[in-house]
Amino acid sequence: MDKQQLFDEMKTAVLEGEIEAAEEIARKALEMGIPPLECIEEGFVAGINEVGRLFEEGEMFLPELVAAAEVMKAALAVLEPELQKQQVTRDIPGKVVIGTMYNDIHDIGKDMVASMLTAAGFEVHNLGVNVPCETFIGKVKELKPDILGLSALLTTTMPEQKKVIEALEKEGLRQSVKVMVGGAPINQEWADSIGADGFAENAIEAVKVARSLVNEK
């Protein structure tokens, strides 16, 4: 099997959401000595781009997008250790820390955003749900992300978003990170009023906003 055939199989695995197949092809590629960076860029990212194009054209749907992102994540888990070993760095658009606010346990929307960002090449650290303000601050210090994503589904947990932004300011971290807010009750007006940098109504929009925020930096 030649290199191009393997890349095509990677692409197909992404398009069809085949996680196990993707892991297997990634391992096989490494065994054959194909540079992991090439696998990512020529194989999996090419697949992600194709999925994005088909989604824009209305030929693919959100679950397929999420599945593609899951495949990407699984493939990266196989390939990234090898990248590190070879001391090669992957060109990523940015690093994201994302989580649902304290006392809020709703994660489906936040997880969709995380998946879409992963698919778009971002390095995503998903902190899960019910995340206390201090944890967000700690992770920003530790990981130095480009973007901090704060999700709230309840009107009662919306003020937590404000609290985190204030805490970032107090810690002198506000200038180092762009803050994106989202969730069903959130709108642009709220985002502006608490001094957030970005807001999106759905996961697809969130990727666009994240890209433009990273470019602003």
């Binding site: 959100l62 109504e201 929009e205």
Partner: protein, 488 residues
């Protein structure tokens, strides 16, 4: 751009409104009225046939009393299933008691212009445009009408121009309701025969059927009767559409309305079976109630929805296909009222497995045609089609393995089971589901604006298989001959 194949609906749900006893009582009441009072057939040709079959005929009042035995025999002779053919065989419709097809509505006299949005008198070109959009929409199975009247051509040959314009716009089956004289019927069938490749071919593959209006209560129209007698001779399916309005042309009570509807739908079937035993006939109906304030036609409302479902059940009892007046709201614009009317008026016939729903695209009680309304009605129908599917319960759809695998708090987004089945979820084409911000950004674009864009796109991009130039030449010759003969 080729059209996707149409989607006839086979409802998995069943809704029952009348009991078997109710239906029997309505049937017996209709028989009693036909036998004791009779029905007006204002055509001596029709009365000759009926008299010969043993009906008591009064030539002065033109009323024929139909013996119950004759009525029951005729109902038995008429087929329960038959073909309504398309000009292109891929558009063929098999009419039976399980499948529901949606047609365009007819025959409006004004249109909302797709470019200006203004109301204007309808033209021959509007027919082709309406048919072209209908041809593209998978939900629409054939053209009843024409959708609008061709008011820019001479009245005398207008029905023939309307047939030509319809065929220019679609390869689907065509069911004119404007062929209402013996002479015009002959010319119309001659046109159909040219396309079908002869009279015999046309009988085998009727790319045409006729629809006539009844003159409620207890009466028919002379010209329409004679036109349909020609159709029966040719073996072309014909239907008669009573539209009794409770309080005006029918009793105020809906059960009484159903008796009048039944009489006015069944009585011409008897004539058709006498003219040509076994000729395909369908029932049509649009029973309603008057508006109590103005006395006007309503084009919607709960009585219409009830009557539609009930008459459909009566037609199943007779095992004769029904073409039910559906959609065709009384609303003046594609608004809330239009959506309410057309959702109910589309759902009830489908849940009672009505063969044909006439039809999509009009406003103001079938007087105004709108391409946007046509597209939005098709979308309502696609939702009804989804509802009519019901819910399938088996191991695969119960998905217990998947539920166990995902466990508490997980999600099903990227699971293979989701990808296998997600396309079963209904997807809109014009229905607005944009996020609020995107909606604002689009200039508050809703279904109407989406439908406007879609209509323009279809008119620009959809190509309909054109008529053979030789057929067009024949059409011109036939229309000219008709003009010459009929203007005498």
């Amino acid at each position: 751009m080729l059209r996707r194949k149409f989607q006839p609906v086979r409802s998995q749900l069943e809704f029952r409104l009348l009991s078997a006893r109710d239906i029997k009582k309505i049937h017996e009441a209709a028989l009693e009225v036909m036998e004791e009072v009779g029905v007006r057939f204002p055509s001596n040709l029709a009365l000759d046939v009926l008299e010969q079959a043993g009906c008591q005929v009064n030539r002065e009042t033109m009323v024929a009393k139909l013996p119950s035995k004759l009525v029951v025999e005729s109902l038995r002779q008429a087929p329960s299933q038959y073909l309504l053919a398309g000009r292109d065989p891929k558009d063929d419709m098999w009419i039976d008691d399980k499948t529901s097809y949606l047609s365009t509505d007819g025959c409006a006299v004004e249109v909302y212009d797709i470019e200006t949005g203004k109301l204007r008198t309808s033209t021959k070109q509007d027919i082709t445009d309406a048919c072209k959009v209908a041809d593209y929409l998978p939900e629409i199975s054939y053209v009843w009408g024409p959708p609008v009247s061709a008011q820019d051509v001479p009245a005398i040959t207008r029905p023939l121009h309307e047939i030509e314009a319809s065929m220019d716009g679609t390869t689907m089956h065509i069911q004119p309701e404007t062929v209402i004289s013996r002479k015009i019927a002959e010319y119309a069938l001659e046109m159909a025969a040219v396309v079908a490749g002869g009279k015999e071919e046309l009988r085998k593959r009727p790319i045409f059927s006729f629809m006539q209006c009844a003159m409620d209560p207890l009466g028919q129209d002379g010209g329409s009767l004679e036109a349909s007698m020609v159709a029966a001779e040719w073996g072309i399916p014909t239907g008669f559409m009573p539209m009794p309005m409770s309080c005006a042309t029918a009793p105020a009570t809906l059960a009484g309305n159903l008796v009048v509807t039944t009489v006015d739908a069944v009585s011409p079937l008897v004539l058709m079976q006498l003219v040509n035993p076994g000729t395909p006939v369908y029932f049509a109906a649009a029973p309603t109630a008057i508006d109590l304030q103005t006395g006007g036609y309503t084009g919607g409302g709960p009585e219409d929805f009830l009557l539609a479902a009930a008459f459909s059940e009566i037609c199943h009892f007779y095992q004769i296909p029904l073409a039910m007046g559906a959609f065709a709201t009384g609303a003046k614009e594609p608004d809330w009222q239009a959506a309410v009317d057309n959702s109910f008026a589309g759902l009830m016939p489908v849940l009672t497995r009505t063969a044909i729903l006439n039809g999509a695209g009009t406003l103001n009680g079938s007087k105004i045609f709108s391409l946007q309304q046509l597209i939005m009605d098709a979308e309502i129908y696609s939702m009804i089609a989804k509802v009519a599917e019901g819910i399938e319960v088996n191991d695969e759809t119960l998905a217990v393995d998947v539920i166990k695998k995902i466990g508490p708090g997980g999600n099903y987004l990227s699971d293979k089971h989701t990808r296998r089945h997600m396309k079963e979820i209904w997807r809109p084409t014009v229905y607005d589901r944009k996020p609020y911000g995107a909606w604002l950004e689009s200039g508050k674009k809703g279904a109407f604006e989406e439908a406007t864009e879609k209509a323009r796109w279809i008119l620009k991009n959809h190509e309909v298989k054109p008529l053979d130039p030789k057929v067009k030449e024949e059409f011109a010759r036939i229309i000219k001959a008709a003009e010459k003969e009929l203007s005498k």
